[in-house]
């Protein structure tokens, strides 16, 4: 069973926090801080598995994490989950985010927190893995978005323009997931007023 899913940036600021077990508000915050503390100490060449901190169940639970540019994706699971399986699940989640947001970056997660939650809810339900296929997850999540787009109508144009601008900024797209740096240097855009 998955106990919690956390996404935070390199400074420990939470971008998404979902708990599948009950903790008080305070404990949740402490767990986020503790997890960040544990995970940020790790080098780049070590394995992606850690024992859970004391607050989240200690050695009974494992932290499985991936670090993408400015974000840490951490899944806290108990012993009934396969470590490598969860590692790939994180990859599926990120690839789905990339599909749903068109070249996702940290800003997308910040400004569309509810959409990220909705995507996650199609993948993990009540702490159990519901769906592992990226297209299925995004189809379910987008069934809702289609409604949002038809509601937006003409006002959807700014949203499309914004994503066009964002795409202009990002440097060359490598084939694998690139959650770009928030402080990307933009080339000369003086003609764009």
């Amino acid at each position: 069973m998955i106990k919690a899913i956390l996404i935070f940036n390199n400074h420990g600021k939470p971008r998404l926090s979902k708990f599948y077990e009950h903790y008080t508000e305070d404990t949740e915050q402490q767990i986020i801080r503790e997890t960040f503390h544990l995970v940020s100490k790790r080098d780049e060449n070590v394995c992606n598995f850690l024992e859970g901190g004391l607050l989240i169940g200690g050695s009974e639970n494992k932290l499985i994490y991936r670090h993408y540019a400015t974000l840490y994706f951490v899944f806290c699971v108990d012993s009934s989950e396969s470590e490598l399986g969860i590692l790939d699940l994180i990859q599926v989640f990120v690839e789905t985010l990339d599909k749903c947001f068109e070249n996702v970056c940290e800003l997308d997660l910040i400004f569309h927190m509810d959409k990220v939650h909705n995507i996650l809810a199609e993948m993990v339900m009540g702490g159990m893995v519901l769906e592992t296929n990226m297209s299925e997850i995004s189809t379910q999540a987008e069934a809702h978005s289609k409604m949002e787009k038809s509601e937006a109508g003409i006002a959807g144009a700014p949203a499309r323009a914004v994503s066009a601008v964002k795409n202009m900024n990002l440097p060359e797209m490598p084939k694998n997931i690139n959650i770009g740096d928030i402080s990307i240097k933009v080339p000369n855009l003086s003609s764009f007023k």
């Binding site: 790939d88 509810d114 592992t132």
Partner: protein, 426 residues
């Protein structure tokens, strides 16, 4: 993002006249977040959020606030709560949003409820009626949302009220509803097992569902039930072995493939269940030897997920009644893991050795040198795992050396929890 893009982002919505829906909704959140990122101290952040929260409080108590505006406030409330600030005045409004709003408002309302509330919260009772209504709705999306919320947070005492409706969904024509219903029932079983005792027969139906997704979901339940008491489910072994054979043989539709591996998570789940069923039971184990052999053979490719499957295979081989050829293959597999330069695999190899050592201490001794090297590994997790292993292969000959190494580690260890754990098990 750079200044140019920031300016563009804020200017664009203003260039257009009609501002409805998504644009307006994200605007105020954008402003809030922008303001927070510009602040440098925690104290400033607290003040800003307090201001924001009182503005929100006014908005939610005002009778003029539309559902759309409430939806926007709710997203901001979720953001504040995520950062650790209390926005409990919004909880009741979240429930109202789920009750009275259109589909989009409902979605945000339900999301807010699942993030804010927990079992036992007094407001949850108010949610029950909304959930009941949505479960009966002909709108698929509403029914899905209701099922998701029920699996996340639902008052234990009200389960009987909602149980028949969820049960009903097990025979729904749409497979996504059946799947969610299965997981919701599994959640019920975890929090109130006696309430769902009578529907175990329906779980069997889910296991034989024509849709592999529903079948996979039912395996979550079976893993739990079989962990609790394997004897009642030995008769399932034959069917599970058949399923695994078909999956490994590539009989599933291609959508279930992940990097050319057929339904890997399903394979992992099946292997775990089979290992529990075959434990200390020679006749049941007999049924699985072929498929385990086949799985070991097939998982040859070089992807993380095939290693995950291999690991489960190996564990299964060592858990069930032993068979010589399988044990040999599994031992070779573990050897490859431990000697692998890939660090995740090394970790799994060590974990496997720790598990296996109770059955076959020779395997660990075979890899003694590698294990000793791992003790000085740069990666703390590897060191920790090695210590666990060493503790288990202690015998009269090597006890002195091992205890010495353990003491060395403890001296250098900063983590209180680890120290306590090691000293207690030592």
């Amino acid at each position: 993002m750079s200044d140019v893009v920031e300016k563009t982002l804020t200017a664009l919505p203003g260039l257009f006249d009609s501002q409805t829906g998504a644009a307006r909704i994200t605007n105020r959140l954008r402003q809030l977040i922008k303001s927070i990122t510009e602040l440098t101290s925690k104290h400033d952040e607290e003040n800003l959020i307090k201001q924001e929260l009182s503005a929100m409080k006014e908005q939610v108590s005002s009778p003029n606030t539309t559902m759309k505006q409430m939806r926007e406030v709710m997203v901001r409330a979720m953001y504040c709560e995520m950062l650790g600030y209390d926005a409990s005045f919004t909880y009741i409004h979240a429930i109202k949003l789920a009750q009275q709003g259109g589909v989009l408002e409902k979605r945000v309302g339900y999301l807010a409820v699942s993030l804010f509330l927990s079992e036992g919260h007094e407001l949850l009772l108010l949610l029950v009626n909304t959930v009941l209504k949505d479960l009966q709705s002909t709108n698929l999306i509403e029914a899905c949302m209701a099922l998701t919320v029920v699996a996340q947070v639902f008052p234990k005492d009200m389960i009987p009220a909602v149980l028949p409706l969820v049960e009903d969904k097990l025979s729904h024509p749409k497979e996504i509803i059946r799947r969610k219903a299965v997981l919701a029932l599994y959640k019920f079983h975890l929090i109130a097992p006696t309430q769902v005792q009578h529907i175990h027969g329906k779980f069997r139906k889910a296991l034989c569902d024509k849709d592999p997704g529903v079948m996979t979901s039912s395996l979550h339940i079976y893993l739990q039930l079989i962990t609790e008491s394997p004897d009642g489910y030995k008769d399932l072994t034959g069917s599970l072995v058949t399923i695994l054979k078909q999956v490994v043989g590539g009989k599933l539709p291609v959508e279930f493939d992940y990097h050319s591996v057929p339904a890997p998570w399903l394979q992992i789940q099946l292997l775990r269940i089979l290992s529990l069923l075959g434990r200390e039971d020679p006749s049941t184990s007999e049924l699985m030897y072929d498929v385990l052999d086949e799985s070991l053979r097939r998982a040859e490719m070089n992807h993380n997920i095939t290693y995950a499957i291999l690991y489960e295979c190996v564990k299964a081989v060592y858990t069930i009644h032993p068979k010589a050829e399988l044990l040999e293959k599994a031992a070779r597999c573990i050897g490859n893991f431990v000697l692998s330069p890939k660090i995740n695999l090394k970790y799994l190899g060590l974990k496997a050795l720790t598990y296996v050592v109770q059955h076959d201490a020779r395997l660990a001794l075979q890899h003694q040198m590698t294990i000793i090297e791992c003790l000085d590994h740069a990666d703390y997790t590897i060191k920790r795992e090695t210590l666990e292993l060493l503790f288990r292969i202690t015998n009269a000959q090597n006890v002195t050396v091992i205890v010495e190494k353990m003491l060395d580690f403890l001296h250098g260890c900063n983590d209180e929890h680890t120290i306590i754990h090691l000293v207690c098990s030592g």
